[in-house]
């Protein structure tokens, strides 16, 4: 098993009602698997929200196998400026 931390921002935080979640996951769990878990947890609140994935503060272009102690953020559309 591996442990990962999910930090929540903006619409993800609003949908889940928390800043941080921790998960104990099977080895070989991928970023997309975890996204499905997060979307399910949010009910329908994230249905129309595109999410980019950052692992350890770097955007991921492809599905990635998660590692123990990874920090994952599902990034809704950003709004800086």
């Amino acid at each position: 098993m591996i442990n990962v931390k999910v930090k929540c921002f903006s619409q993800v935080k609003y949908a889940l009602g928390v800043d941080v979640l921790t998960f104990e996951l099977d080895e070989n769990t991928t970023s997309i698997d975890l996204e499905k878990i997060i979307r399910k947890k949010a009910g329908k609140k994230l249905n129309n929200v595109p999410l980019r994935i950052a692992i350890n503060q770097k955007y991921q272009k492809e599905e990635t196998i998660l590692q123990d102690a990874d920090e994952v953020v599902f990034i809704p559309p950003v709004q800086g400026g």
Partner: protein, 137 residues
């Protein structure tokens, strides 16, 4: 040279100089919080950011702009936390030999910033309600 900062305090200008004989163009962009959001009066915008990654993405973009366009310096300050209507949320200064490259670089930098840097904002209305602020202009 690149300087980028994200801070929860009022933005101060990078200032001007009268002894730079390399950069004929000094272009400044100030982004300011408007008093309305979707037609409704607001108290303030509340910015949140992903600490660490937001700074890294901003710096990465600034370095990319300096390579993509012929500019010499890019300085950027972005505010987070509560920003009242009328206050600056972002201040950018680009210095280059000629104006055209600075103008192109500024537009590209802001466009990419609004697409990639993990910063978000909510508008807090006068009646206390919180609504997403999704201006991409």
């Amino acid at each position: 040279m690149v300087i980028v900062e994200i801070a929860n305090k009022s933005i101060k200008s990078f200032g001007i100089t009268n002894d730079d004989n390399q950069n004929g163009a000094e272009l400044v962009f100030n982004g300011r919080v408007r008093g309305t959001e979707k037609g409704k009066p607001i108290k303030y915008l509340e910015y949140e950011y992903y600490e660490g990654m937001a700074e890294a993405e901003l710096k990465h973009l600034a370095n990319k702009v300096c390579k993509k366009f012929t500019i010499n310096h890019l300085y950027c300050r972005h505010r987070v936390g509560k920003v009242k209507a009328g206050e600056l949320s972002i201040h950018i200064m680009i210095l280059s030999k000629h104006r055209k490259e600075a103008i192109k670089a500024m537009d590209w930098f802001i466009f990419e910033l609004k697409k990639n840097v993990p910063i978000w904002k909510w508008a807090i209305l006068n009646d206390g309600r919180k609504i997403p602020s999704d201006c991409m202009h």
